[in-house]
């Protein structure tokens, strides 16, 4: 919930100082407290890189109506207005990716699902959420096994780009078909283990939720629409 609040607030709060403040309070401080600052910085930085670079280049050189020139490269002129706008976007992206990264690094998927169930979300919906999260590593593992098997049978997946692309074709089929077959088998097994049983599931445990956590969480939820409204009516001053 906190990650969602930070992500929304990053969009709601404009300017340079607003998103920077959000990153400090909503990402850096909790990451420091969790001892995960370096991991968060590295992962969020890598995630932001492609979008950040393209946002920087497009806005720096092509910001509409900009007049204050910084420097020129051939026919393209970098502008102060473009740099400022690109920096705003970059900070927002960093706030969003930082919040998401921090969430993934501090929350076990199974704990998330159990908490969702405890709060009344249907076990099927919760299962879909978790299965979606767990699908990627499972697919990667399957692809690794199939790649090794195909290489053992002489498939060349290294070398030139063309050769690598050719190598993907005999891997994609088994990975996809195998995954589909596995989903079918798994759903059959789930049925036999009472997954479709009506009524609430019994929960053996659920993540702790202190009063302070609840207050912090709800404060963020309340703060997000307030920030959006405040920015819209111009109350944020230099922050917006």
């Amino acid at each position: 919930m906190a990650a969602t609040a930070v992500a929304f607030a990053a969009v709601g709060v404009g300017g340079l100082a607003g998103p920077a403040l959000l990153i400090g309070i909503g990402v850096v401080a909790p990451a420091l407290a969790a001892g995960l600052l370096w991991k968060v910085v590295r992962t969020a930085g890598l995630m932001s890189l492609p979008l950040g670079i393209s946002a920087l280049l497009v806005n720096l050189f092509l910001y509409p109506g900009a007049t204050d020139a910084l420097f020129s490269i051939g026919p393209l002129t970098a502008t102060v207005e473009g740099l400022r706008f690109a920096s705003e976007i970059l900070l927002r992206i960093l706030a969003i990716t930082g919040a998401i990264t921090l969430f993934y690094l501090t929350t076990a998927p199974s704990a998330l699902v159990i908490d969702l169930e405890r709060r009344g979300i249907s076990s099927r919906v919760a299962f879909v959420v978790l299965a979606s999260v767990e699908t990627v590593p499972a697919m990667v593992e399957r692809a690794t096994v199939i790649t090794a098997a195909q290489r053992a049978r002489g498939l060349d997946t290294e070398g030139s780009v063309v050769r690598r692309i050719r190598g993907v074709v005999p891997l994609a089929g088994p990975v996809l078909l195998g995954s589909i077959a596995e989903v079918e088998e798994r759903s059959t097994a789930l049925e036999s283990r009472g997954f479709t049983h009506p009524g609430r599931r019994t929960l053996l445990w659920w993540p702790g939720d202190s009063g302070r956590q609840a207050v912090a969480r709800w404060s963020m939820v309340v703060a997000v629409p307030l920030l959006v409204v405040a920015r819209a009516v111009g109350w944020l001053g230099w922050l917006g």
Partner: protein, 276 residues
């Protein structure tokens, strides 16, 4: 008691039925082995027995399957979950994929049934102890070996406490020690009155745990009788089934012209091997 009355099953789109006119009775406390060549219909019979075909595996079923005298047809799949348990050969697909620990994985079924928390814990503890995997309780299921996953899947099945068990190659990935644990757990369940159907290629295992063995051939029951009689039947090889090592050894000794005293010693040794 699990009863099949003239059961036939054809998968959706299949040219011919995978089961044809199968009639069987698996009594309470009885362990029945199911063998046959590839595509003989073993897995299909397991799916039908567990009520998964045609409920989740599409196809056309004819005949009747009775659970303790009650027709299974009108029962929903979730109503069958606590009554008929099924284990498949591939343990990876039997795991829920959403449990962070083996303990939660084994508890998954009882939790789904909405049983009281204390009962879920009791059942989970008992299942883990029965298969001697209590040490794995805090491990992540996805990181276990195939054999360990198979034991976890079996424990998950035992925790549901079904009166009827259907096992499709439940020891496919197990070492001899794991196989023995499963065999002991099945024997205990049978003593408690469960009716158990085990499809297995390991005829040595069937010889040690089954009261009866059924041989399927092209979807039909080819042989049905006491385990020792069926597994010693010379027609077994023609039906694509390897006889247990004990039977093959006895035949070789016979063919080599072993003396009655030697054969008697051999029978004694094989009987001792089967009980350990």
């Amino acid at each position: 008691m699990l009863t099949f009355e003239s059961v036939s099953y054809r998968y959706a789109g299949a040219a011919r039925p995978s089961l044809q006119d199968v009639s069987l009775v698996i009594g309470s406390g009885e362990v029945v082995g199911l063998v046959g060549a590839s595509e003989a219909g073993k897995t299909t019979l397991c799916l039908v027995a567990a009520g998964l075909a045609p409920r989740t595996v599409r196809g056309t079923l004819s005949g009747r399957i009775l659970l303790d005298g009650t027709d299974m047809a009108p029962l929903a799949i979730h109503e069958l979950a606590g009554r008929v348990g099924i284990a498949f050969a591939n343990p990876a697909t039997q795991l829920s994929g959403v449990a962070g620990t083996v303990y939660e994985e084994v508890a998954f079924g009882p939790m789904n049934l909405g049983l009281p928390r204390s009962e879920v814990i009791d059942r989970t503890d008992a299942a883990l102890r029965a298969l001697k995997i209590i040490d794995l309780a805090e491990r992540e299921p996805a990181l276990l070996s195939g054999g360990q996953q198979q034991l976890v899947a079996m424990a998950g099945l035992l925790a549901l406490g079904p009166a009827h068990l259907v096992l499709d190659e439940p020891t496919a990935q197990l070492d001899p020690a794991g196989t023995r644990l499963v065999a002991q757990a099945l024997a205990r369940l049978a003593m408690d009155g469960a009716s158990i159907l085990v499809a297995e290629q390991k005829t040595d295992l069937l010889a040690s745990i089954c009261d009866r063995v059924v041989v399927l051939d092209a979807g039909r029951v080819a042989l049905d009788g006491p385990a020792a009689e069926v597994l010693g039947d010379p027609r077994l090889a023609d039906l694509g089934v390897a006889a247990p090592a004990s039977v093959r050894l006895r035949r070789l000794a016979d063919a080599a012209g072993a003396s009655p005293a030697t054969l008697s010693h051999l029978d004694g040794a094989l009987a001792l091997e089967a009980t350990t």
